[in-house]
């Protein structure tokens, strides 16, 4: 080693003034320009934004599918689309919203915000993070590319067998569907592992377990749910594709199999999935309620315990999706009880948020207004969920528009309203500019009215006997009026998103400058510049409180002694967050992109020949070796 290198390595953050430190750290942690640089970046903020933008594009695509379906259903005996296309539309709508929007958008916020909130410089395993994004992107492109090429799954987002078997659904649609599942689940699992490790091991010194922001706790529980739930759907979708491609017999009752095995595996994942999508919504609500009430959320401990309880209970409910399959009575009764029990931790959370608002003097900015919309809609959806938990009531409303209404109340009310709130809330952090408040309030009016006009009538349609997944209905059924109303509402609701899109684009260009902490919030992401530098923090903060920015005031205590010209971050102990190691964070690399590409080619190839896995695996293996092969001798020091 030359003395020059030696000296460079010895430069520590304590040796430099603020200006020079910022400049040198941003060189060390920055991403290169050019195509290779763009594809090589491992900055969690850049990847988080990519996740979010991609998820929003899929939201719009899924939304357009929904609008076409609503236009078709607006009148009885309509022929706008035929049965075949309608079945493809609702399959794509459900699949896109669940797998390509609902899950990834939660990941997007986790990937962007968790490292900032815990006060570290990058997410754990940043190359895996880059890989996961490309795998997600390729999965989505594959599904929609197939759709454009008329390879269209049409057996629902749940792909029940035997309908999804080869003899009832020839063609490659369900195979594309099953492989897309594998893609997006690989991505979600990878992100979950990163979040778990980031939260457990990379918290800023002093951020003990009871000082972790509720947002971060929520994302931690969310990640654990993914870790235990997603293997079920990966197993199931692999079994389905094997059933279709190589003739296994898992679901064939005449050869020792059972079609209900698919349903058990699917819903073992499918019910936690609801919480996987919903928990990020509660994370947004916790952050926003605290900031605009000007105090921490009431009942930190009950909130955290409720989250953990939700995590556990979410695995004990899956059978309530199968109440009409003719289960033994006693088994069904058990799942009624467990399904009702999960209302308790949810109730505790709702109570704590309202108590926080009660104690404070809430400031009615757009983010909080959307959170109020969340209360109105989500509580209604949660309560209709209690009805569905009852086996006898479920025998009437199962697979009707009542259920469609219920889960849109839960998922849109529970996730999308908080999500819009979150966009308004964190937009200034990401772009440095505030979104327009006036447009935000108009958007709320449109979204709130549009949503309720669309989905409230669906409760009644379901009770009046309208089943789900029908492409049309006879005029004599008397469902025309309510359907027309719902369709009109859907247009309003869709318009609200176009307004948001306009607001985002306009505000990114010419919105009011935000400064570091425009809302006067308490968590660490507001302690850095907007947008944050590549290194997130020039000096790693020391945390002495659960609300560091409110409590610590001007006394800016920090960690010193990290190298400036290497990507070093502080690894801390799990409970006390005591500094333990200066770990090197991996540098940008093109290999994650290439690995994702090779994986995608092997997966897509496997739809056509199982040999693609055989030939693809060595290629993927070689790419992975290149990925992990150390580049320099210094890296080992």
């Amino acid at each position: 080693m030359s003395p020059a290198i030696e000296e460079r390595h010895e430069t520590r953050d304590t040796d430099l003034g603020d200006e020079e430190l910022r400049a040198r750290l941003s060189r060390t942690w920055g991403s290169a320009r050019g195509l290779i640089g763009i594809l090589s970046t491992v900055d969690h903020k850049i990847i988080g934004i990519r996740y979010a933008v991609t998820a929003f594009v899929f939201l719009l695509a899924g939304g357009i599918m929904a609008i076409i379906m609503r236009l078709q259903l607006a009148r009885p005996d309509s022929h706008l689309v035929d049965a075949e296309l309608y079945n493809q539309l609702f399959t794509m709508h459900g699949t896109t919203m669940m797998f390509l929007f609902g899950v990834p958008v939660g990941e997007a916020f986790a990937v962007y915000l968790v490292p900032l909130m815990v006060g570290t410089r990058n997410i754990a395993f940043p190359r895996l993070n880059a890989f996961s994004y490309y795998v997600y992107l390729f999965g989505g492109l594959m599904l929609w590319g197939g759709f454009a090429l008329s390879i269209r799954p049409d057996v629902g987002w749940f792909s029940y067998v035997p309908l999804a078997n080869l003899n009832f659904t020839p063609g490659k649609g369900p195979d594309y569907w099953a492989q897309m599942i594998t893609f997006t689940e690989v991505a979600a699992l990878a992100v979950s592992v990163e979040i778990v490790v980031t939260v457990l091991k990379q918290r800023a010194p002093g951020m003990t377990l009871d000082r972790i922001p509720l947002f971060v706790w929520t994302m931690l529980v969310h990640s654990f749910i993914i870790i235990f739930a997603m293997p079920a759907i990966m197993l199931a979708s692999s079994m389905l594709i094997m059933e279709r491609l190589v003739g296994t017999q898992f679901f064939n009752p005449d050869a020792g199999g059972d079609p209900l095995l698919w349903q058990h595996l699917f819903w073992f994942f499918g019910h936690p999935e609801v919480y996987i999508i919903f928990l990020p919504g509660t994370a947004f609500v916790s952050a926003i309620v605290a900031t605009f009430s000007r105090r921490p959320v009431f009942g930190y401990l009950p909130m955290v315990l409720s989250l953990i309880a939700i995590g556990f209970l979410s695995f004990g409910l899956w059978v309530h999706h199968m109440f009409v399959t003719g289960l033994p009575e006693i088994g069904a009764a058990f799942f009624t009880a467990s399904s009702m029990a999960i209302a308790i931790p949810n109730g505790v959370q709702i109570f704590c948020w309202i108590a926080t608002l009660w104690d404070g003097k809430p400031v009615l900015k757009t983010p909080l207004i959307f959170v109020l919309g969340f209360f109105f809609i989500f509580v209604a959806g949660g309560l209709s969920g209690v009805m569905l938990a009852s086996v006898p009531i479920d025998t009437q409303v199962h697979d009707t528009y009542f259920v469609v209404a219920h889960f849109h109340y839960v998922l849109i009310g529970g996730t999308v309203f908080p999500l819009v709130a979150a966009v308004y809330y964190w937009f200034p952090k990401v772009t440095g500019r505030l979104m327009d408040e006036r447009l935000g309030k108009w958007q709320f009016v449109l979204a709130f009215c549009g949503f309720n006009i669309t989905f409230f009538p669906m409760h009644l349609l379901g009770l009046h006997g309208m089943p789900r997944r029908v492409y049309t209905y006879p005029a004599e059924m008397g469902w025309g009026g309510l359907n027309l109303l719902a369709s009109a509402g859907a247009l309003l609701f869709f318009a609200s998103f176009l307004l948001m899109l306009y607001n985002m684009i306009a505000s990114a260009r010419s919105g009011a400058l935000a400064g570091d902490n425009p809302w006067g919030a308490d968590t660490l992401e507001w302690a850095t510049s907007s947008p944050p530098q590549p290194q997130n923090f020039d000096r790693i903060p020391c945390v002495t409180s659960g609300s560091p920015l409110w409590d610590q005031g001007d006394d800016n205590v920090v960690v010193g002694g990290l190298k400036v010209d290497e990507r070093e971050l502080v690894v801390t102990s799990i409970r006390e967050a005591r500094p333990d190691i200066r770990e090197e964070s991996p540098a940008p690399s093109i290999w994650p992109f290439l690995a994702a590409f090779a994986t995608a080619v092997a997966f897509i190839g496997s739809i056509y020949t199982p040999w693609a896995i055989t030939w693809g695996s060595p290629v993927v293996a070689i790419v992975l070796v290149a990925w992990f092969w150390p580049k320099t001798i210094e890296e080992n020091v």
Partner: protein, 262 residues
């Protein structure tokens, strides 16, 4: 806007009594019990929703005048909040337990198999029609239409010839799936003569939307006459079914409806 929704909802509820295929327009013992249970749940949970919204409204308006106060990192936990928390937790547990007990009770009423049924009928689901087989020595078959005697319990044996379907006549009973390799049994009973429409409630492929079925409840004497006539030259209608399925789903049953309803 919310009031518009409510108004639309209200008028639709009012029209519920004339619903062709409505769970809220019950005409059988089981559907009655389900509708009662549904309304109890709706009333209780609706009240819970109102109380929650009232709490939210109160929380927002309590101290509205002063804005932008400095943040308090450690606000004292006030006594009323503690009491409210305890009350909320207790009442949630009580309400949920009560509803669960009602639900178990309803489950027994709905699924409990009573004495032997007067008639047993096999229904076999196909893409996209219903094969109906009257069991017994003089068995015979129909398609997309089940005739039953008024006032008697009828057991329906549900199996499928291809994919999963779900048998659902909302005015008479809840739904039950038809699953390959499995036989499910559902009991229905009609209180008065009429035509009760139902349709497949589990997505079963392209023409799922058109997979309707009609239960025609006849006075017992009329039913026996019909049955004797069907059984006499024992013949299978299965071969006729496929070609008649769409015609039957679209028009004839409504003709039957007007024929029987008055």
């Amino acid at each position: 806007m919310a009031s518009l929704t409510a108004a639309a909802g209200g008028s639709a509820l009012a029209s519920g009594c004339t619903g062709v295929q409505s769970a809220l327009n019950p005409h059988g013992e089981r559907a009655d019990a389900l509708a009662v249970l549904f309304w109890i749940f709706t009333a209780v949970l609706g009240l819970v929703w109102l109380v929650t919204m009232a709490g939210l409204f109160f929380a927002l308006t309590r101290r509205r005048d002063s804005r932008g106060e400095p943040a308090q990192a450690h606000p004292a936990v006030k006594r009323p909040v503690r009491i409210a928390f305890a009350a909320m937790l207790t009442s949630t547990v009580i309400i949920l337990s009560g509803l669960a007990v009602l639900s178990f009770d309803g489950q027994r009423a709905v699924f409990g198999d009573g004495a032997g049924a007067a008639v047993t009928i096999s229904v076999i689901g196909h893409q996209w029609w219903w094969q109906v087989r009257y069991e017994g020595n003089n068995g015979f078959e129909t398609a997309n239409e089940i005739r039953i005697p008024v006032g008697s319990a009828v057991d329906i044996k549900l199996t499928t010839g291809d994919v999963i379907h779900s048998f659902w006549i909302p005015s008479l009973a809840g739904k039950l799936d038809l699953i390959p390799g499995k036989s499910n049994e559902l009991r229905i009973q009609a209180d008065k003569p009429g035509v009760y429409r139902g349709q497949c409630a589990e997505f079963c492929g392209q023409q799922h939307a058109h997979m309707a079925i009609f239960v025609v409840a006849l006075e017992p004497s009329e039913f026996e006459r019909w049955r004797a006539k069907q059984a006499a030259p024992a013949r299978s209608m299965a071969h006729l079914a496929k070609q008649s399925v769409f015609a039957s789903a679209a028009s004839s049953p409504f003709a039957a409806l007007s024929e029987h309803s008055q």
